[in-house]
Symmetry: C2
Amino acid sequence: MAVYTDIAEEELSEFIAGYDVGELLSYKGIAEGTENTNYLLHTSQASFILTLYERRVEESDLPFFLGLMQHLAKKGVTCPLPVQRRDGSMIGRVAGRPAALITFLEGMWLRRPSPRHCRAVGEALARLHLAALDFPQSRANALAPADWRPLWEKAKPQADTVEPGLAAEVEKDLGELLENWPRDLPEGIVHADLFPDNVFFLEDEVSGLIDFYFACHDQLAYDVATCLNAWCFEKDLSYNLTKGTAFLAGYQSVRPLERAEIDALPVLARGSAMRFMLTRLHDWLVLPDGPLIKKRDPMEYIRRLRFHRQIASPSEYGLETA
Amino acid sequence: MAVYTDIAEEELSEFIAGYDVGELLSYKGIAEGTENTNYLLHTSQASFILTLYERRVEESDLPFFLGLMQHLAKKGVTCPLPVQRRDGSMIGRVAGRPAALITFLEGMWLRRPSPRHCRAVGEALARLHLAALDFPQSRANALAPADWRPLWEKAKPQADTVEPGLAAEVEKDLGELLENWPRDLPEGIVHADLFPDNVFFLEDEVSGLIDFYFACHDQLAYDVATCLNAWCFEKDLSYNLTKGTAFLAGYQSVRPLERAEIDALPVLARGSAMRFMLTRLHDWLVLPDGPLIKKRDPMEYIRRLRFHRQIASPSEYGLETA
């Protein structure tokens, strides 16, 4: 939601000269993405997104992220395609930052997705999972359960300022999750951040999946659980069973979930809520305020945690089980 | 530098249906402008800027601003053209805000303009002044000398926290300026905010003048003085005589300054520096900090004030006087 790095016109023109994309006509910093700086470029050939990778993204991970997008795009997943430089590489440098130029996808992200959109996202997620199965590179999840405790330790001392009793509640949850975390589910590449602002639609069809900068190797059903949290709760934080049913049916129409994945859904959904709660809580309590920091309320994910904690059967998510 | 208002896709599609511009394909909030929210839209026909007017812009001023852009564009000034709605009006409403759709101008604003660019801006400013002479509407300058004291009174009690002695210095300056302000110079419509980020270039030619939301009726030479402040000082706040000479020569090649305008240039430049210093100082000291507020250092304009105060003759700006 911020433009962290400004670019002067001469340095951008010089950077663009490293690509076969025509002449630079305009560039505007856009208010999308929370980790990187993004510009929407018009050249004499087409529109592009220029991403400058800021400090939260490891430069050594870029070949994985960009290679994955290239792999997926070649397999027909509608995701941005990194443009190759004249020297064949996909990573350049501008304004002191590693940078990539990627194709611009038309489409809009939905502030109020309907069940029909949830179904489409389920299908798209499953297609992404299948298309990535033969992607040869790998990357560990930097926000896997083992990473939750260190985040929590930093936020814990002030957690009760957010809500009295929160420290004890999260401590207990975290212990239970780490103890019961599933380990033998089907694995592959997960998007790990497929929130509504990362899915573009045109006329109710998915026109683009973007922002692969949390993608990693993990259990596939964890991605399903993350989407349940991201797509199937209402603004009042109630679970929308119709949307959950639609999302899961969409996913299963492309890749049916195994029995063990279904059984693990409540703990995965709770864990995914924990992961997003912890990063939000950390930013909320630990990061300094600043004009470029958009802090998001951790309580939205505490509420999801509480919902998942009381789930008695995965069927409550809307799974059409046999 | 901020997107204050988010728009849902359905409401934007509905808004766009009021125009004959094709189907909406994408929209991105852009980090330009400090007063309003701007989106860059792609439709099946072209690119557009959608501006949502936030609280700092008076809705009753919009017919003046948009009418002026239309008038100037028709007279060949490269500025955005407000798109007419199917009902003939230029002002719509979206997300609870008055809003206008304007044509998108390719081009880049220059972080480091050269003397050549300063000359081109001088020419463009003079052309704008001449083209606006027969514009039938008028609008008073809301930040004219009479408005400086109320702004100053709000900031004054804390002014010495910015620099010791500042309160007394500004108080004295303000008195002198109000006493000596010229009143009989040629008048017309001025842009009043023609900073580098409001002028687009393509291959060293001016491709667009934007952001007319401070435009008003005032003395034309005041606009010249504002551009001297905006274009002809270096990052170290020294005056660049080469740029000043180029800018003024460019302006005079289209509209020669009268003797009285030239004589008034030091006091106008000092007054213009005062106006920008005061709004910055006010925001710096009086506005609360927030994620959407980008505060700018008032000292940059104190330094300009000091420079103009010691000018002995307008020729020091680089005026080629007879």
